[in-house]
């Protein structure tokens, strides 16, 4: 990975806002890397379902292969659309593997990772991060710009504190 680069992690459903945030946040002289990871779990699950059809394997028709190729194609389309929206030169990085680990690996040496909250965005709170995004935020070896893809919910969306607030163990 290029030292000091800005990695922009793009996923379905939230990539528009992430690209816009990256365009605003990336210094003019920084290298922008548009990143998408094709989740191999998906392809493997379909291979698995096909493997479960004991005796009906016709290898040339394994739907796992079809899904894997389609997923790679969809990822390339997403990066192309993001590149057009960004409006400045950017490197494309499309990977396949375990999403959360590939994203962390792609951030090695980077100055900044830009990504989006991708869970329940109806209220402020931990559920606004999906499990892969949480892993990435917890493990990223660089600064992280974590955006709300839409307008952030109001402060009032946080539940009130519990009646008996837990005491500090030392207190």
């Amino acid at each position: 990975m290029i030292a000091g680069s800005v990695v922009v992690w793009l996923t379905e459903g939230t990539w528009h806002s992430v690209v816009d945030a990256a365009a605003a946040a990336a210094p003019a002289d920084a290298t922008v890397v548009l990143l998408h990871v094709v989740d191999t779990r998906l392809e493997e699950a379909v291979h698995g379902a096909y493997g479960g059809l004991l005796g009906r394997h016709r290898r040339h028709r394994d739907p796992g292969d079809t899904v894997g190729q389609a997923a790679a194609g969809a990822g390339a389309d997403l990066l192309a659309a993001a590149s057009a929206r960004l409006g400045r030169p950017a490197r494309h990085d499309i990977r396949d593997g375990l999403v959360e680990r590939e994203v962390v690996a792609a951030c090695e040496g980077a100055a900044l990772l830009v990504c989006a909250r991708d869970g329940d965005r109806s209220r402020l709170g931990p559920k606004s991060l999906g499990r892969y995004t949480r892993f990435v935020v917890d493990h990223a070896p660089c600064a992280v710009l974590l955006i709300w893809p839409e307008q952030a919910p109001a402060l009032g969306s946080i539940p009130p504190p519990p009646a008996h607030y837990p005491r500090h163990p030392g207190g």
Binding site: G13, R41, V46, G48, A49, Y50, G51, V67
Partner: protein, 422 residues
């Protein structure tokens, strides 16, 4: 050969047949080992020639039915049925991931029920991935739903799963009787699975920040849909007309085949290939090999732990054992073993409970597919650590819940619907 020696040889033959079918060295047909293994069973006297002939005769109609349904699904796809279904999924979901999951559940459940689980895995799953991609949504919950429902939604009709076809004759039920008793368990397990999916994939099902709904224009493949509807009606009417379902399925496939052949879209060789003759041969040979396994003590031992009355605890025990067995061996041999162990005239309720187990159970570990996947990795020289952990976790959540509610629903259906029993 009799006694323990016969049992040991029979089990070894079955293990060889299953291992070969899962690994498929050099892509060779599963029948390559299964047919000689069946021959050895007869030659060594593990199963008598007369018993082998009886077994083959019983399985003949089932295998013919299977071939017809495989061809029917292939031709329905060639007519554009699944592309059309993908477009309907797009327009009815209106770009909302939660709504898409609901309609994918409906599509996968109906496809599995009518055209069997093979059609859902091979034909519907890629279409559902494409649908999610066109909508700009995460595909995972929807694709996983197809892979799961291919198993768990295959309980409704005798044609939905080869396991059902194998057990249908033993149940003594009519086509409508089978379906009437399985309707409530089918709906109950679907509901349990849907709730589990909504919870498990909550983050993936969050609304898209910028929903897109591409325009869909494709006309409905009316001819194929009409043939499928008439075939289904023919199945339902088989109880009254006396026309066996295998003839109805064959007629449906023949009508679609005639149209495709007149138009030059498909040749006779292709149709023969789609009917999977080697797979049909494999099922026949597997039937003989499993009959050898159950004939020498193992069947009686399994039979002694199986309840004989369709009480609620009895049904739960049968369904649980069947699910466990389908995770030890594949559900195809599991079904054959259970049928051999339930005796000559089992209560239909017990047969149906066993089917719930062997159909819903495989989502727990995907035993056959895990072995296949690991082997694929070994061949590719890659990292052998499976990335199926997430998929397995989903199975641990959905299978016990789905199986429990489906079995309770079956017990209720048996209580209410005593009149449907033979």
């Amino acid at each position: 050969m009799t006694g323990v020696a016969a049992e040991v040889v029979a089990v070894l033959l079955l293990a060889a047949v299953l291992a070969f079918a899962m690994i498929q060295p050099r892509g060779l047909s599963e029948a390559t080992v299964a047919v000689p293994a069946a021959g050895i069973s007869v030659a060594l006297g593990i199963i008598s020639t007369a018993d082998a002939v009886t077994q083959l005769r019983q399985l003949g109609a089932t295998v013919g039915f299977l071939a017809a349904v495989l061809v029917l699904a292939y031709l329905a796809d060639a007519e554009g049925t699944f592309r059309w279904l993908g477009d309907r999924l797009i327009s009815s979901s209106r770009g909302h991931p939660g709504r898409l999951l609901a309609v994918v559940f409906g599509a996968a459940a109906v496809t599995t029920a009518v055209l069997s689980l093979d059609a859902t895995v091979v034909l519907l799953t890629p279409v559902v991935f494409g649908t999610a991609a066109r909508l700009g949504l995460r595909a995972k919950p929807h694709v996983y739903a197809c892979t799961h429902l291919a198993n768990s939604a295959s309980t409704l009709l005798p044609v939905s799963n080869l396991t059902n076809l194998l057990a249908f004759g033993a149940s003594g039920l009519s086509f409508l009787g089978f379906t009437a008793l399985m309707a409530a368990p089918w709906l109950a397990s679907l509901a349990a699975e849907f709730l589990a999916f909504r919870w498990f994939f909550a983050a993936d099902l969050a609304s898209s920040a910028e929903p897109t709904v591409p325009s869909v224009t494709q006309d409905a493949p009316r001819f194929a849909l009409a043939v499928l509807a008439l075939t289904l009606a023919g199945f339902a009417a088989s109880s009254f007309t006396g026309i066996p379902p295998v003839i109805v399925a064959g007629a449906g496939a023949a009508v679609l085949a005639a149209k495709a052949m007149i138009r030059g879209q498909v040749g006779p060789w292709r149709l023969v290939r789609e009917a999977s003759p080697l797979f049909c041969l494999f099922v026949l040979a597997l039937g003989v090999v499993v009959a050898g396994v159950t004939a020498h003590g193992l069947g009686a031992a399994l039979g002694s732990v199986l309840p004989s009355a369709p009480t609620l605890p009895g049904l739960l025990v049968v369904a649980g054992l069947a699910a466990a067995l389908s995770n030890v061996v594949n559900n195809l041999p599991a079904t054959l073993m259970l049928l051999g162990s339930l005796g000559p005239a089992p209560h239909p309720g017990l047969v149906l409970a066993a089917l719930l187990g062997v159909n819903i159970g495989p989502n727990l570990t995907y035993v056959g597919s895990l072995a296949t996947l690991l082997w694929r990795r070994v061949l590719a020289g890659g990292d052998a650590a499976p990335t199926l952990r997430e998929f397995l976790r989903l199975g641990v959540i959905t299978v016990p819940a789905g199986l429990a509610v489906a079995t309770v629903a079956l017990w209720l259906a048996l209580t209410v619907g005593r009149g449907w029993l033979p």
